[in-house]
């Protein structure tokens, strides 16, 4: 178990290093550097000093070494638009993205697994193709457009939910602790629903396939022959075995979920990583954009390691391997 963890973490580290090298390459292929574009009045000698601190005045190989060193020590650069270190900004914003993703992933799994089981049990029937058609509809939808349509629906046509930010700006300061929590949860609803609608389709699809795979197995036939009821078969014999592969799916959906979160955050003004990344584009804040690439790959890698570990915990055969 410990060896598995060590191996996965090492592999993850290699992936992150490759991603870092990639962002470094991209930055150097691009016109200008992190300090070329800004609309603020920063004296030229200050810019020169920054260039010197971030090694931009040195040869390429030295720059690469410098880049790797600063990355390893957690120094992700200096954000020219917010005028503070990128790491400080990320520490403020990333937890909010993680919060959003945590609830979305949790609900996606509950909904996706439920739908997958329903579809598999009524295979070929109305619940099956009906639910699959709806899933495909949402699956084929651009994240930002779904979010916009939810804004239209819930903000203007049925105005019951807040559509931007994470707390009530006007009444928020006077709220008690409990009220603040409720207010925060209400702000979470729409962004989370958008992400769940986008993600649970893929999970339901995998769950359905996994259920159908297990249903073909002989022990299911035996159980049925013994006269075990269909409910007990699908709960005890099929679902328990079909839940395993879904753990891997958690790792696989992470990149698209994170990508979706970027746009959903933008539409709902949820102040997370996606929101500042989108703002950084307009400001040509290279350091911030590149750091968000790196951080999102770190999140994906960590998520995958967690999924692998969960899988090993759930399935003793993997642990032994």
């Amino acid at each position: 178990m410990r060896r598995l963890l060590a191996r996965r973490l090492l592999q993850g580290l290699a992936v992150v290093w490759l991603v870092g090298t990639l962002t470094f390459t991209l930055l150097h292929l691009a016109p200008g550097d992190a300090f070329s574009y800004h609309d603020r009045h920063i004296p030229a000698d200050v810019i020169e000093r920054w260039r010197h601190i971030y090694c931009l005045d040195r040869p390429l190989v030295a720059q690469y070494g410098c880049y790797l060193r600063s990355m390893a020590s957690g120094n992700l650069g200096y954000s020219i638009s917010q005028q503070r270190p990128v790491l400080d900004i990320l520490i403020d914003y990333v937890p909010r993205t993680i919060e959003l993703m945590f609830f979305s992933l949790l609900l996606s799994f509950v909904a996706g697994i439920g739908l997958g089981v329903l579809e598999a049990r009524h295979r070929g029937g109305f619940p099956d193709w009906g639910s699959r058609a709806i899933a495909l509809f949402f699956y084929s939808m651009p994240d930002f457009w779904l979010a916009l349509m939810l804004v239209l629906l819930f903000a203007y046509w049925v105005p019951i939910l807040p559509i931007s930010g994470m707390e009530d700006v006007i009444n928020g300061p006077s709220f008690s602790g409990w009220q603040r929590l409720v207010d925060h949860a209400r702000h979470l609803v729409l962004p989370v629903i958008s992400l769940v609608l986008l993600t649970c389709a893929a999970i339901a699809r995998f769950q359905r396939a996994a259920m159908l795979d297990v249903m073909r197995m002989e022990f299911v036939v035996t159980a049925r022959a013994k006269g075990v009821s269909e409910n007990v078969i699908s709960r005890h014999h099929v679902l328990r075995n079909a839940l395993l592969p879904i753990i891997t799916v958690a790792g696989l959906t992470l990149p698209s979920l994170l990508g979706g979160a970027v746009l959903v955050e933008l539409v709902f003004s949820w102040p997370g990583m996606g929101y500042i990344t989108a703002a950084a584009i307009g400001n040509r804040d290279y350091a911030l954009v590149m750091a968000s690439v790196l951080v999102s790959s770190v999140l994906v890698v960590l998520g995958n390691v967690a999924a692998d570990l969960l899988y090993a915990l759930a399935d003793p055969r993997v642990r032994a391997a």
Partner: protein, 313 residues
Amino acid sequence: MLALRWLSALALIVVLSLLFWRYAHPASIATASRRRAAAARYATHPSAVIALLALLALYVIAALAPWLATHDPIALLPQSFVNHPPSRELLFGTDYVGRDVFSRVLFGTRLSLSIALLATVLSVLLGTAYGLIAGFVGGALDTAMMRLVDAFLAIPRIVLLIAIGALWAPLGVTSLVLILGLTAWFGTSRLVRAEVLSLRERDMVAAARALGARDLAIVRRHVLPNVLTPVIVSATLGVAGVIINEATLSFLGIGISDPAPSLGNIIRDGSPFIATAWWAALFPGLALVITAMAYNLAGDGLRDAMDPRQVDR
């Protein structure tokens, strides 16, 4: 713009004639009958047939956009027509500067379809070549190449696109095609490599090698025809993703920029006025969903038709 139009027409013609050529001249009777069986299986999925018809209709609409459009997609109507709701005259209403949304959606669909098709062709070629080399050569090269793909796949696609787009903004049509194509091949390369690894060990390859066939001949005669099926399926499904990614970039303001219409930037123009002028954001989005759904359904149908083992999984 003109170059893109010719390029996409050329790409479409090349793809269609290649497919037709291979279909009309099957390598053997067995291939011919397998193909007929696949076509018959495809026809048994009503949703797949509808999707295919929808795709045909979309391409016809895109091709005929200049004749179907009721207004100039770029021209501004008089001031009183700003944010005008849908009417008989203005089918989808007008946007915040008074442009006809219906005409813009037509031209936007045209642009999105061309860009997605070209980018997908590019990514399929790249991914197939990459996967072939990695799988067939094997060894350390394979490991290195696949670790690189792992790294690419660890970055959410849209975050990667945003980063590239942000560095080179504003993007032209050509660079947009390049960027979308260059970031869409990772999945294909994995798929091809896995397929090649299993094909490499088959008896037919051993037999060909015993007969003295060279590597290149083996790849051409035995490997490439057999990886074609999964590649076509994943390419069909991939177009849907590319269309959505292009729209996302244009929505963020780093793809196609005003005044040229793309489905994404029409939504971008409409989004600040969503409360009062919902039509400018709703209709281009519907066009996107219909297009992506048609590609997804057609891809699912193709997979079931071409690979009966995979049915109902």
